[in-house]
Amino acid sequence: MNRINTALLAFRIMAWVTGVVLAIASVWAALGYLFWDYSSEGGKPSLYSLLWLAHGWLYFAYLIAAVNLAFLLRFPIVKTVALLLAGTIPFASFYADYVMHRYVRNREELATERTT
């Protein structure tokens, strides 16, 4: 259980850090392409590009945390892939974090019910 809780915490941190960066970057992108001049080359501020660069590398940390958790919980391959993809869809990683916590909590309750 302890290893799962550690993996769950690591996943929570990465899901939130990656999720927040992705959320800011994608809202910024939507505003940029709708109202500002982002479709032209070189029209984007450097902080905006930096956010996307950051998301690219943060997503790797997210992948490792997610795979670690999925293997500890013996997730089937399709669920694992869904969990990995959640880091690329805006706001999906927050939901993934919620689902994973609920899943682990239910598992723990089942385990305690069995032992008592």
């Binding site: 590009s49 996307w52 660069l53 690219g56 590398w57 997503y59 790797f60 992948l63 795979v67 293997f71 013996r74 391959i77 694992t80």
Partner: protein, 246 residues
Amino acid sequence: MTRKGNVFTEVRKPTHILALAALIGVCVLFFFLGKWQWDRTQNILNAERAASEQAVPVSEIVGEELNPEDFGRAVTAAGRYVPANQVRVTNRLENGQPSARVGEWVVSEFVVDSGLRIAVLRGWVPTAAEYLTPAEPVVIGGILQPSEAFYEGAVSGQSGVVVIDSEELSEIWGKPLASGFVVLTTQEPQGVANPTPVPPTISTSNVAFPLQNFFYAIQWWIFALFAIVLYFRWIVVSGREDSEVQ
């Protein structure tokens, strides 16, 4: 010790053959996505280089300050030399070769039609040699250079200056003088008895590296490797589980 055998029986299952096909598909897809970003990186670099090699009118990019990104930019200018305003930069080698003759560089003030005043390094001459300065309007092409920063604090003698420093030149010729100087490469009309052209120190300007596309290319390829690792770990784990069940 049948774990190894289990891995192989595991691989032969239909779901695993499907997974393997998916893995290969994903790897091929990710490889080409990475290749696409890689090509984009190269295209952007090439386009930027081509754009920076295209000569631009000097008054468009030079002012009181010289942008470091424009060091080495090819520039053109239409205007005329000021024959009264020229200096000799002493102790300069012909063609910059160590075995070459020692002589002087001729630096003239050039007034662009737009009104901009800028120093132009016209070339090398043997010490105290004669040369002509065209008085008629000319169109020049050259490479933009920052002021020479070495020999800081060197004292200029009677015969000429030691470095080309637009700050120092502006004190002799009067302000405002544009920052940096142009190394002459072409002059139209050519004229006669010109100084020998000097190769520019900085010949290519910096172009912004498309870091984002470059990283995306690398990331797609790492994703492909990640998929392979994931697949093999999954096979080993599910093989182990099956042996536990049996």
